[in-house]
């Protein structure tokens, strides 16, 4: 079964250009709002503002390049062999997203101190291993043991040996 290459749309590139331009604009505005000191002719806002200007120009180049399909600044390859490969298989976005959301929840639980580090880490590790891996009896047992060992080991190393006050 042959797979069709995954075609890239222009959407992400346009979004990238817009976000970079917005960041550049914020840097310019924020940088220029800082007053220079008496002894420093540039002041603390000048360099961030310059970075902002450069970002806006480069973001403009990305947007222009995307809109016109012109290759701007892509011809610098002195060495070949490491070019980005055109993906031939769809990426598993949902899996990565699920893990990311779970990680956010894990950190939130630690932040809110709903459960201590030991319990939260055990639950997080076990959940991820079960979601991502085998869920039969053997897989579940391995996941639970791994989670317990991981949480216990890290808690011992950081709390007891390195004297860090874990949540």
């Amino acid at each position: 079964m042959s797979m069709k290459p995954v075609l890239r749309t222009k959407g992400p590139d346009i979004a990238f250009g817009i976000v970079v331009m917005a960041l550049g604009a914020v840097s310019i505005v924020e940088g220029l709002s800082i007053r220079p000191s008496r002894f420093d002719p540039l002041g603390p806002g000048a360099v961030p503002a310059m970075i902002g200007v450069a970002l806006c120009i480069l973001a403009g180049a990305v947007l222009l390049s995307t809109a016109t399909s012109l290759r701007i600044g892509d011809g610098a390859r002195l060495f070949t062999g490491l070019e980005d490969e055109a993906g031939s298989e769809p990426l598993l976005w949902q899996r990565a997203l699920a893990v990311f959301v779970t990680t956010l929840a894990y950190v939130a639980v630690l932040e809110l101190r709903l459960v201590g580090y030991l319990g939260a880490t055990f639950a997080y590790t076990a959940f991820l291993l079960l979601v991502l891996g085998r869920r039969d009896a053997r897989g579940t047992a391995i996941a639970l043991v791994t989670a317990a060992v991981t949480a216990g080991l890290l808690d011992t190393i950081f709390r007891r040996l390195l004297s860090i006050d874990l949540p």
């Binding site: 603390p44 600044g73 060495f79 990426l91 893990v99 991820l128 890290l154």
Partner: protein, 495 residues
Amino acid sequence: MSLAEAFIAVLQPLPFWVLSLGVLLGIIVGALPGMTGGMLMALALPFTYYMTDANAITLLIGMYVGGISGGLITATLMRIPGEPSSVMTTLDGYPLARAGQPGRALGLGISASVVGGGLSWIALVLLSPPLAKLGLQFGPFENFALALLALVMISSLSRGSFVRGLIAGLLGMLVGVPGVDESSGTMRFTFGIDALAGGFNLLPVILGIFALSQVFADLMAPDKPAMRVAADRRGILISLRDYVDHGWNMLRSGLIGIFMGIMPGVGASIGSIAAYTTARNLSKTPEKFGKGSEEGIVASETANNATSGGTLIPVITLGLPGGFTDAVLLAALMIHNLQPGPHFFANNTRIVHTIMASHLLAHVVMFAIMVVASLWIVRLMEIPKQYIATMVLVLCVIGAFALNGRLFDVWVMLAFGAVGLALEYVRAPLAPFAIGLILGPMAEGQFRSAMMMSEGSLAPLVTRPISLTLLIATLALFAWPFWRERHLRRAKITG
């Protein structure tokens, strides 16, 4: 501390144990697809807080050397390059292993790696002092021009588009802006967030951009069943005759690797490709390349290890990181209050010599471990991907937290993980981001000092010979992609 004393110091039980541990972990991680030596170094950073500066650097150098070398195990026995720098090894290592000589294929790669490392160590010892002496002549204008050159060079040479590379570099610089400005004490770019008063800490940003985003990228990749060649150790120790037969290839590939290592942004992968291509072009039997050529394995593995010493030269003499791994090394130095830069070599001879001694000894340890344990290490590939990803995530969270004991840094790490993934998605290379992150504050500080010295005049940038030379090189590198595109377009039009 002299170099000889540094060797003796690293050979003491604790430092040697630390070095060996670093090499072993580096080899394992280097062999694991989806994990890199640089990622391991980033994960190890929090632990180095509790070590002496010398032991911390010894550990990281061990991981660095192990990481570059370990990729050849899976490249040879499974046709999976554990590290990007072992891609070329798969082309000939795997066919040779499949042809019934897995031990010899591994042996050639391991021996070539040691020779490459040894050659690059000689370059490191011989080239660093004169370059460091040159660096001492640098003032603020030269340092600023140097930072500019590094940023443009890495954007120009690393993978991905030049413009996107520059954007990544500037974004990295911008990350260094928030917090109290060191020169004036003014608070800037904190947007009312108190936790940002001290700025972004380096470690959470590095962990997020490089470790976390890599884990998510790896999780997005579809799972593929791996095929492993049944192997034994027969032929893993190659003969003296083999060293002689491959001597010229090793020397040439080593020199290519060293040169590629010195250039910011090029690194082990391209060094390996360049050496492999040269070896094929100069070979009497080019038709064997890709079908189990011994020359191909030797060229690729000599070169990728040779970049390790080459890349350390600008790091210890000028404070210039050539890529992400060097950025982590510099971050480790900063954590231990060692300020990288042109004065680093002169002011920190002890650490410089520790780096040099660790680099050579790490290759010796790597040789021993690889010869003895390669066949065991390859079995670790049976560990499911989700276990590795979960462990890395848990380590990232606790590593970022351990820095200051605050969860704000963990949120920062998660945010930068998303940023890293987004940058990868839009094909913006991450190496320039690392360079911008590390060099940004230095570049700004030097630029402002220069402006204070010259009372706001930019003229010294072009009247001082070194800064002018660096500036011309920067402009040439900047103009290169645009000139090349124009040239290609014209060539296309004229047929």
